[in-house]
Symmetry: C2
Subunit: 200 residues, 2 copies
DNA sequence: CAAATAAATTGAACATTGTTCATTTTATTG
DNA sequence: CAATAAAATGAACAATGTTCAATTTATTTG
């Protein structure tokens, strides 16, 4: 049995990631505790630190899973329609519904901060690209004579705008607005932007 | 001297707020520590808790000051131009420059979270309105036949979009883009939205 | 003004965290 | 099977927000 060690190591890592994921999903990133994670994963507190450098590394892995799920969701959302403006609306709407339906996991993507001095590792930075890349194609159809780097920049800008709307809407600092109202507003906004892009 | 108590109490509160503000401005919300605040304010650790319920109350007061400064800045930004589209562009640009020039204080407005179970007090929620209210007037000029509540909603939506762009741009997860580049992109985006609103 | 009372100040103590470490257990290797 | 390397364990540590009993300071009362 060459690799019992490695097998157990991998099992512990995924158990810890799943435990952290469950906690974040249920109670939010703020309530995540090392001791709870270890208990849920069925290991001692110290073992968490043989499997991962620290809690932040664990959170990055949870966020990795969330980004992957978001990615496949956006992928299919973009396929439901044909016209580029409709694709952008569908992407925005899909993003809203994902965020609303996975609030704590989605919030963790943007609320998490590395400890002072540390920066997000490159492999995870690249995973964040999934947030924009689906926007680029329909956008380039709308604005065919856009240079490649401008396209990337404008895709990121459009994502950021949609994200801002979704983000502040879901904050629910006062009363909760039904998601379908938000969806209507968001689609209206995207339609306005698309109109602005194509007029003039 | 009726009120020496009250005088000292007020002095301590402002000293603590200023100490917290200085720390947040210099090192960011994440590095804020009760012991540092007390030392800077020249009082014992325990005194912080006779003047404020907890650290969160202190942070709210710091954010209050930041929102007031942001408010007067937006006020003057809106006055620099006449046409509603230009006013909206000026507001967005002003917002970007404020955020870029007061990064830690501005970030604290959105990064701060109340402890579990607690919610932001009403007086402070209302102060956040300063973020949208300046948008409503030019927006109503652009869309004269908008109902009052729709106007408020769309002003909030437009703010959220601009905030999202500014927010993600300033995150600087990779390389820092010059503010004037961001400003050009942001103004371009606002112009697109305005065009989309008026073409129809 | 002096004594009594109320409030505020103080820093030590407490509770909760993330992380480390010496010890023990477990897998791998020779 | 013995020797070694790796991992598991939970007690201990350090940092942090908050509380508390004791002390000092301001106000009120006789």
């Amino acid at each position: 049995m060459a690799g019992l060690r490695e097998t157990k190591r991998r099992a512990l890592r995924t158990a810890l990631i799943e435990a952290a994921r469950g906690r974040i999903e249920a109670d939010g990133l703020d309530e995540l505790r090392a001791r709870d994670i270890a208990r849920d994963a069925g290991c001692a507190l110290g073992s968490l630190y043989t499997a991962f450098d620290d809690i932040d590394a664990l959170i990055l892995h949870v966020n990795s899973i969330t980004l992957a799920a978001l990615g496949t969701m956006l992928e299919t959302a973009a396929q439901t329609t044909q016209a580029p403006g409709d694709k952008l609306a569908a992407l925005a709407s899909g993003y809203l519904h994902f965020a609303a339906g996975n609030k704590n996991l989605w919030s963790a993507l943007f609320d998490h901060r590395m400890p002072a001095g540390m920066s997000v590792p490159e492999w995870h930075l690249q995973e964040h690209a999934v947030l924009f890349i689906h926007i680029a194609k329909p956008l380039s159809t709308l604005k065919p004579d856009l240079a490649e780097d401008d396209l990337a920049i404008q895709a990121r800008t459009l994502f950021s705008a949609v994200h801002g709307i979704v983000s502040i809407s879901l904050q629910e600092r006062t009363i909760a607005v039904p998601v379908e109202h938000l969806d209507a507003q968001l689609r209206d906004f995207v339609a306005t932007v698309v109109r602005g892009m194509t007029s003039a």
